[in-house]
Symmetry: C2
């Protein structure tokens, strides 16, 4: 429960003129590094079984949560070049994890969907991450989770945050 054996000096309470200490900033940066690395390590292992990488997971994730996403829409979320995405998407399609359907309104569009295999593989990838989040959220408690969310949101620029929150809120699944 308590991980504060080595007490971190994160906070610097002086109400309005609330300025984080040098130490708090360094600790925050290092926690971002260590935390993100832990968060991604399990799916990375699974992905390497199949010559996939983290980018494949990201594509599967967002196609999964937003079925019918266009290629342009996915490019926008991932913020990579068309060529980078193509090298990820093509194998996923060839391997039968992602399916493309021609758009009904706009027949230039290739709308993206997960196949059953795609859904299964995506769930296998995200299961360990969900387990990590579940454990962390449980042990940290609802208020800590609120804080976690709040700080990560504020890490983004205004515009990125707007887009990210739109994406997060716009999931078509559960």
């Amino acid at each position: 429960m308590t991980t504060s054996e080595a007490p971190l000096t994160f906070v610097c309470r002086d109400e309005e003129q609330n300025t984080p200490s040098e130490r708090a900033l360094r600790e925050g940066a290092e926690l971002m590094f260590f935390g993100y690395r832990s968060f991604t390590q399990d799916p990375d292992k699974i992905l390497s079984e199949r010559d996939y990488g983290r980018a494949h997971h990201r594509a599967l994730h967002f196609i999964g949560t937003q079925p019918g996403l266009s290629v342009a829409g996915l490019l926008d979320i991932l913020d990579v070049t068309k060529q980078s995405l193509a090298r990820v998407l093509k194998p996923l399609i060839d391997d039968g994890l992602v399916e493309q359907r021609v758009g009904e309104n706009d027949r230039r569009q290739r709308l993206l969907f997960l196949t059953d295999d795609g859904v299964a593989f995506e769930e296998r990838l995200s299961a360990p991450q969900r387990a990590r989040l579940t454990r962390a959220f449980r042990e940290a408690g609802p208020d800590a989770v609120e804080g976690f969310r709040f700080v990560l949101e504020l890490m983004m620029d205004e515009e990125q945050r707007k887009q990210a929150l739109t994406v997060i809120a716009g999931a078509k699944l559960p």
Copy 2:
């Protein structure tokens, strides 16, 4: 201040049987992705001016906070192979940002230090990250920051967390 225009449903309060919702888990995972990307984007730009990458920043950061770190110690923190580190460390040394000194007790060791140029460049790299953290910590408030830290800590496995907290607590600088 308030970014909750699109209210996220993060928390699932049922006291003891506190289980995060499906939606909360997905949101958490996506925030990790978007947040980390935002966090690294500024230094990434600066690094690309010089044919450096994120790995160079990490090396500079940890050498900066733990001057006199051995190569093995840095390998342990970064958890990469010797060869991966070598390809990062060599240019930093050649470019005069990192200096090696033979260990006094153990003359096989090459202890790592930042040169003045190294300190300056590292500060340039981390400045935008510190600015992000400062803004986020200020706006989110001390309790949110506590929660942020707590959740990220709990994201790690027992062992990794122990090591990370040791590294974080063991900074020889401020």
